[in-house]
Symmetry: C2
Subunit: 227 residues, 2 copies
DNA sequence: CCGACTTTGTGATTTGGCTCACAAGCTGCG
DNA sequence: CGCAGCTTGTGAGCCAAATCACAAAGTCGG
């Protein structure tokens, strides 16, 4: 067995390769793909693709490329997507509803199995083919149906509370959409998705280029050489 | 003027500090905050906070900490959030609707100003106080109301097409929710948010810990020393 | 005003990941 | 079979970012 330490940065790219390979497999233009082409599809450079794939083992053939089906299988296996991951969403508001009715998750092995809320309006409602249950039922539900992944889609003020419910129920992987930090024991893995942050980063770079353009314009008017 | 090159990693954390500071400012417990406390609130370590803030200038006071209001203002300015950024969403389906009715964006200076779709069902409908318009009107609309940021919330097959509409209309900052690469000219900034990828990364680490637990269990049964 | 204490700001070092460049290895053809 | 042409796999060097560690600069109590 080789060194079983795949760099984090590589893990984060495997799903991108996976998607690109699925697209390739569908359009059946060829049985193999070169690191060059995969790089183009994934939007990274070829050396990075090769290095990333080399952490999984030597699955390519020199002079030919990578067998698409085989590579698909290996990445799927490495990411743990050969099994389904029963997933629960807590907080069935605007975002929770969108997530609950999204087909793309189950296509990738994430079966949304249960929805929870604590408001009497939401509980009992049907969303995306599931009945919304009360948060209090979470623990029993995890015990019964072996839920593995928890998604937080409540307002930020409730995020910590919901995280604690998840931890208490034995869930070890949490995806948090609320713009708030949550504290959990070290054996629980939390990932945060913050959509506002992405916009703010865009804002930073856009402002910067606008500022540069404005400065250049000002210089031009003053007949100074551009910096 | 000091070295105007803020590391990317720092830029990505500024919004996190901003949020933490806003929380602090609301609960008015103190006028200043130490790097230690800010670090705790932001979920990073204190040295990193200090180094990040030092890129903006020396806004702290030794022995005391950082003035919350002043730091808030500086980060806001640095991120370009002293102005509003008129934003458009294309693709008013499940996700687009959730985004359109989300109040958190406008609170942070991202005013959702226009919604577009290309299906006759969606066009004309009212969502979050705005009338959905046809994608063909995008260019005129950008010219009129100076839209700055474009959000793609269409299926992946349409992502490239929508991106080209944005580019054609002169938009320089794009946030892409569709799981697909888009190619744009180098002066356009695209950020991608892929929710499935986050789940897949969780899956990887969960599978890994499960595998380790299973191996340990197997060893125990065989009366071998644990690895 | 002094000395104990707190907290910043930043050089120095370490770490992790990216890129380059090329030998190794495969294919196919004459 | 040998050679030309690809493409992988990976060591080496490079660069950005994380962390460390501490002097500098402030506060506060007496
Ligand atoms: N809607 C978006 O597009 C969007 C975008 C970015 C971030 N977010 C974030 O996602 C989260 C959800 O956003 P939303 O727009 O869906 O909000 P929402 O107000 O529409 O829905 C929140 C839901 O959570 C439920 N809830 C509240 N406290 C709860 C608790 N303790 N236990 C269980 N359920 C609880 C509420 O009953 C409600 O149904 C928020 O944190 C928001 O900041 C949303
Ligand atoms: N819904 C979710 O929770 C979720 C989660 C993760 C990712 N996504 C991604 O976000 C995107 C949108 O998801 P959704 O669930 O809202 O899909 P959806 O099918 O509900 O909505 C897509 C909308 O885009 C419109 N559209 C299609 N082609 C268009 C075009 N060329 N120009 C303008 N409008 C067009 C459609 O008319 C529809 O209204 C998808 O790419 C999806 O993969 C969604």
């Amino acid at each position: 067995m080789r060194s079983r330490a795949i760099p984090e940065a590589t893990v984060a790219r495997l799903p991108i390769y996976l998607r690109a390979l699925l697209d390739l497999a569908e359009t059946q233009r060829a049985l193999t793909v070169s690191s060059e082409e995969l790089a183009r599809l994934a939007g990274v450079n070829a050396a990075k693709v090769r290095k990333d794939l080399s952490y999984l083992g030597s699955y390519g053939t020199r002079g030919v490329g990578y067998d698409i089906e085989y590579l698909l299988y290996q990445i799927t296996r490495e990411l743990g997507l050969t099994q389904d991951w029963p997933t629960a969403i807590v907080g069935i508001g605007n975002l929770g509803r969108a997530l609950a009715s999204y087909k793309g998750f189950s296509e990738r092995g994430f079966r949304i199995d249960a929805l929870f809320d604590n408001s009497s309006e939401a509980v009992g409602e049907e969303v995306g083919g599931l009945i919304v249950r009360h948060l209090d039922e979470l623990k029993d539900c995890v015990a019964e149906s072996g839920l593995c992944i928890g998604i937080i889609a409540t307002p930020p003020t409730s995020a910590q509370e919901v995280a604690e419910h998840f931890v208490d129920a034995g869930i070890k992987s949490i995806l948090n959409f609320a713009p708030a930090m949550v504290n959990v024991p070290p054996d629980v893995n939390v990932r945060k998705v913050d959509l506002s942050i992405e916009l703010q980063i865009l804002s930073f770079y856009q402002q910067r280029t606008q500022a540069i353009a404005a400065a250049r314009e000002a210089n031009r008017r003053l007949n100074l050489p551009s910096a």
